[in-house]
């Protein structure tokens, strides 16, 4: 996806992004001033990337604090009830997110989803506005099917950097296919620095946890070869 012309920017720098159908990703802002035309500036430090036809631009950087963005999948911890039929969910952002009790597959006024405090949910951010609390949903709003979202039972939660999460979502990244070739596993990757993992054996889950931490750019930062030899040192 990223082109060879990626370079580093600091917040406030002008980015030469121009296209008739320009789409700005995270870390970029359009500034409209009275004298000149609108220009694009960066709002965070990182490397600027753009798609092959230069219509989509974004800034890639690593952090631990999640800033919610609509349509992203996240792993949240239920922190408590909110109102009559909703939950407050901790997704690692500055504020709790609201998860409506009706935003589940097959939920109705009579038959609401039942979540315990401290349980894990895999959800999609349905609303992210800088002045409002984020909102989550556990179904596809059009089809009203769960589409893989919902409560996560059993397994374990790994916390990693945001960049690691995005890498895990990339189908071309080596880690998950490699682990999957060694033992059967289940994974739910949230973009908020949380990865839920599950496998049959405790040892396998621990091995997954350690591999994710070892491959994390903010941790061990191991590449494919180093990770494979690290995996072989683990006692399974």
């Amino acid at each position: 996806m990223s082109s060879s012309s990626s370079y580093i920017v600091l917040p406030g720098e002008t980015v030469p992004a121009q296209h008739v159908n320009l789409k700005l990703g995270p870390g970029l802002l359009q500034v409209i001033s009275e004298i000149s035309e609108s220009s694009i500036i960066s709002t965070r430090a990182g490397t600027v990337n753009h798609s092959a036809n230069k219509s989509k631009w974004w800034v890639e950087s690593n952090s631990k604090r999640y800033i919610p963005a609509a349509q992203e999948s996240v792993v949240g911890i239920v922190a408590g009830k909110s109102g009559l039929d909703g939950w407050r969910v901790d997704i690692g952002s500055a504020h709790f997110a609201i998860l409506d009790g009706l935003a589940f597959e097959g939920a109705s006024k009579r038959n609401k989803a039942n979540l315990k405090v401290n349980s894990l949910v895999y959800a999609r951010v349905s609303l992210a506005h800088k002045d409002m609390e984020p909102e989550l949903e556990c179904f596809d709003a059009q089809t009203r099917k769960s589409a893989g979202f919902g409560e996560l039972k059993g397994g374990f939660l790994v916390r990693c950097s945001l960049q690691m999460c995005r890498q895990l979502l990339d189908p071309k990244h080596f880690l998950l296919p490699f682990l999957g070739s060694r033992f059967p596993l289940e994974v739910a990757v949230g973009t908020n620095g949380r990865v839920w993992i599950s496998s049959k054996e405790v040892k396998q889950t621990i091995a997954m946890t350690r591999c994710i931490e070892a491959a994390d750019p903010a941790g061990g930062a191991m590449d494919e070869r180093a990770l494979k030899s690290f995996f072989n040192t683990l006692d399974l």
């Binding site: 996560l152 059993g154 374990f156 621990i206």
Partner: protein
């Protein structure tokens, strides 16, 4: 915002793993992380890392007039601070100190100051007129479990590493020699206490049942682990911190959390702590010697 507690799957999995004697980072139950010490350009500047837990300690000395009731003793003050950046979960607010912060501050005071690790009388320059006032500043930079042990290690190594300028007293005239002129003097340290924290977890239901059938009166043993990680610390039923030196003298023994512990459980922990304190003492001595050898060009060494 209150820090969110660990989720149910995390709790269940951790207990399940511990009941199979497995820890999430691959350590053995009574194995601690290997600390890393980095010394700064100044004497007394130490960066101590245990895994991702990181503490910075810095010792400085100034000359002051002693307290009138103790004219022959210098003073030591400890300033500790946990940066709100230390945890991404928002556990440490800047304004109001959390319970853990208070525990660490009090424990440091007990381990470093009240155990008389530093000879305060040797800090006296001129009786009733001039003494050294030591200031030990501790910055907790990152918390990924067992901040207390890391802070104690950083504090004591900083005091051992620190060297004050040499002073000459003729009559009532005090001359302070620059470090390039005369070798700075290390503090006179009585002993080096090391803190070891154990976290306790409830035994598995099957072992409780086995214990009950044998002897219904005795309570089943708790599972101890050394040097708990952040998650282990959050989920344990209680912790036991033992500060002792290589001479097997216990300085502080602090038990937090409501879980009742039997004498044999405490003695087992003390055994482990004694072994570890001896190892740590040798290791710290070695590291300090290494660093001092490397400094020979920059400071005058006699």
């Amino acid at each position: 915002m209150r820090p969110p507690s660990p989720s149910l799957p995390e709790r269940e999995f951790l207990l399940q793993a511990l009941h199979q004697s497995l820890r999430l980072d691959g350590r053995a139950m009574l194995e601690a992380r290997t600390p890393t010490l980095t010394f700064g350009p100044e004497m007394g500047w130490v960066d101590c890392q245990m895994g991702k837990t990181r503490v910075l300690a810095h010792t400085t000395a100034t000359m002051v007039k002693p307290q009138p009731e103790r004219p022959l003793e210098g003073t030591i003050t400890i300033h500790s601070e946990i940066s709100p950046m230390a945890s991404s979960a928002g556990e440490y607010d800047s304004g109001r100190p959390s319970d853990e912060e208070i525990t660490i501050t009090r424990m440091l005071d007990k381990v470093v100051r009240r155990s008389d690790a530093v000879d305060k009388e040797s800090l006296c320059i001129l009786a009733g007129e001039r003494v050294w006032a030591l200031r030990l500043t501790i910055h907790c930079l990152a918390d990924s479990g067992n901040l207390l042990d890391c802070a104690c290690l950083a504090a004591i190594v900083s005091l051992r590493h620190f060297r004050r300028p040499d002073v000459e007293v003729i009559g009532s005239d005090v001359t302070v020699h620059a470090p390039t002129e005369r070798a700075p003097v290390p503090l006179s340290i009585h002993h080096t206490p090391f803190c070891n924290t154990f976290a306790f977890f409830p035994p598995s239901p099957s072992s409780i049942a086995a214990q009950d059938s044998q002897d219904p009166l005795s309570s089943p043993l708790q599972i101890p682990i050394l040097d708990p990680s952040h998650l282990e610390q959050r989920l344990c039923t209680g912790t036991l911190s033992i500060a002792l030196n290589a001479q097997r003298e216990i300085c502080v023994l602090q038990k937090l959390g409501g879980v009742p512990l039997g004498a044999e459980e405490v003695l087992l922990a003390v055994e482990v702590a004694v072994r570890r304190a001896k190892e740590m003492n040798e290791w710290v001595d070695g590291r300090l010697r290494e660093d001092w050898e490397g400094r020979k060009g920059s400071v005058e060494v006699r």
